[in-house]
């Protein structure tokens, strides 16, 4: 069992979400890219190119395994088969970090391939904490839990999201993955103060930071409705919020997420360099 006291063993540098089309560019010249994140579900096959590429990359880069399908917030038991596949992946790869989302995605009907929202109540807290405990037991490692983007509110919610995440970390010993774009999206959509969220966040528990792009829309009343899309560059207000966060937290492993309309590697490298420039003065 690894050291459970540090939230993750990723380097305090910029990383990118790995896309197979960037393999040759990454191997030739990664630039400031110091680590890679993969979506766990894409590497659960038995073999072939995905596994071979991952094996080769893992010899050169620290790898973060990011699950998108465990449905940790689901109101039914975790899928044991899926948990077993996660354990097999983590066992052979021995990643520097494993993370998942505060969300649900699977119900009796099937897997919906989206991060669906949860009301913040005592009942939800107890259920999610139990699921995190189960994941950490099965994987034999500490996990990071990511804050969601929110678009709507639940009448039954009784807790602030920050308090909910803090209490989960306290109960389960899990670390937290702070997605700065999600903070900005949620604060805009709910009319709250993103910096106040950062001020209240338990930054000592943060093992990784995410930065990504979002789409802009408006709701029925004309209020801004931002949608987490990972399909474009990080916007300036999110960079400003990132700088604000890092000034408080100190350097943290920081991921550039770009999952749809994926650009050329040079674009991702430039985004990673921008994050690196904000991290470096703190490191020095």
């Amino acid at each position: 069992m690894r050291d459970m006291s540090v939230p993750s063993s990723l380097p305090h540098a910029a990383g990118i979400g790995y896309k197979s089309r960037h393999y040759a560019d990454l191997v030739a010249d990664p630039g400031p890219v110091g680590w890679l994140e993969i979506h766990a579900e894409n590497y659960m096959g038995d073999g072939g190119r995905p596994i071979a590429q991952l094996r080769a990359l893992a010899e050169r880069f620290p790898i973060s395994v990011h699950g998108v399908g465990l449905s940790i917030g689901g109101d039914r038991p975790l899928d044991r088969d899926h948990l077993g596949r996660l354990r097999r992946l983590c066992d052979w790869l021995d990643p520097a970090s494993f993370s998942e989302h505060l969300a649900w995605s699977t119900h009796d009907t099937g897997y919906l391939n989206d991060l669906l929202p949860l009301p913040y109540t005592d009942a939800t807290l107890a259920r999610v904490a139990a699921h995190i405990g189960q994941v950490q037991d099965v994987l034999g490692r500490r996990m990071l839990l990511e804050n969601p983007s929110t678009y709507l509110a639940f009448d039954e919610t009784t807790m602030e999201e920050v308090d909910f995440l803090s209490e989960l970390a306290r109960r389960t010993g899990c670390g937290l993955l702070l997605d700065i774009n999600n903070v900005f999206v949620s604060a805009t959509n709910q009319g709250t103060d993103a910096r106040a969220y950062i001020d209240a966040f338990p930054l000592s528990q943060v093992g990784e930071v995410h930065l990504g792009g979002h789409d802009e829309d408006v709701d029925d009343t004309g209020r801004p409705l931002l949608i987490d899309s990972h399909g474009c560059a990080v916007v300036d207000p999110v960079w400003a919020l990132y700088r604000y966060t890092i000034a408080q937290s100190g350097p943290r492993p920081t991921l550039i997420e770009w999952d749809t309309d994926v650009p050329a590697f040079a674009t991702l490298r430039a985004e990673a360099a921008r994050a690196d420039a904000i991290l470096s003065p703190v490191t020095a």
């Binding site: 579900e41 894409n42 659960m44 096959g45 038995d46 073999g47 072939g48 190119r49 995905p50 596994i51 071979a52 998108v68 399908g69 465990l70 449905s71 689901g74 109101d75 899928d79 899926h82 596949r85 097999r88 052979w92 649900w104 995605s105 699977t106 119900h107 009796d108 009907t109 099937g110 897997y111 919906l112 391939n113 989206d114 669906l116 929202p117 009301p119 009942a123 929110t150 678009y151 709507l152 509110a153 639940f154 009448d155 039954e156 959509n189 709910q190 009319g191 709701d219 029925d220 009343t221 209020r223 409705l225 949608i227 749809t260």
Partner: protein, 247 residues
């Protein structure tokens, strides 16, 4: 707790109202904010099908494929978060989807594309190498069918249809039933037209008998098979292996 059931129902049924107990966060109705989830689910699963079934998409056109996928994903969402497996029920869906009743080969094209994806993710195995073996020694071998090797049978010329839609220089499809052997010597699955007797030979080889026995039994079942051409295809295409290398 039933909230996630009603949430799921409303996400998958756009005609249904958003579940109760939700708001826009400002005291107003949730309105189109709920539609963000409806849209994310259908768009992301449609993209997964577009990635997984490129030839099918080309055959029916982008707009039709998107509309068809919207119906399919709501009726048959994935049963697993491994989207690389998504679409197992698409052949059956196509077979009973009235708008494509005049294209009866579509379900088999979907099965071929599922097979190519299954092969892509299958376990690695070194192809059987018969170099340097004398014929008797070769025929005494008892190889395995490689994990990435699959057979797709069809009453339609699916190999010709597949080629005409992946290689612009290929001739247009003609003729009747075609069976396909999918193999993956290293990383890239490739379909091969499987001549007469090939389905039988593939089935026999799964029984882990010697090549000599498999050839004799194939000829007994299908006397007109060109057995030496078949064996050459199986060996040259990397369909067989002596060792299985699992993760």
């Amino acid at each position: 707790m039933h909230r996630q059931s009603s949430f799921t129902d409303a996400v998958l049924n756009p005609d249904r109202a958003a579940p109760g107990g939700l708001s826009d966060g400002f005291g107003g109705p949730v309105g189109k904010r709920f539609d963000v989830y409806r849209n994310n689910v259908v768009v992301s699963l449609t993209e997964a099908l577009e990635t997984g079934f490129p030839v099918l998409r080309k055959l029916v056109g982008d707009a039709f494929f998107k509309a068809m996928a919207g119906v399919f994903v709501r009726a048959h969402p994935p049963t697993s978060p491994r989207l690389q497996l998504y679409g197992q029920r698409l052949p059956g869906f196509l077979a009973s989807f009235p708008p494509v009743a005049h294209l009866p080969y579509l379900p088999d094209i979907a099965r071929l594309e599922l097979g190519l994806r299954q092969s892509y993710h299958a376990a690695d195995a070194a192809p059987l190498d018969v170099g340097g073996l004398d014929p008797d020694a070769m025929l005494a071998l008892k190889p395995l069918v490689a994990p990435a090797t699959l057979v797709v049978q069809s009453r339609y010329p699916i190999f010709a249809i597949w080629r005409a839609n992946t290689d612009s220089a290929a001739p247009g499809p003609t003729g009747g039933a075609q069976d396909i052997l999918i193999t993956r010597p290293r990383f890239d699955p490739a379909p091969h037209l499987l001549p007469r007797g090939g389905v039988t030979l593939a089935r026999l080889l799964k029984g882990r008998i010697s090549l000599a026995e498999a050839m004799a039994a194939t000829l007994a079942a299908e006397p007109e098979a060109d057995i030496s051409a078949l064996l050459s295809l199986f060996i040259a295409s990397g369909a067989l292996t002596l060792e299985r290398k699992d993760l």
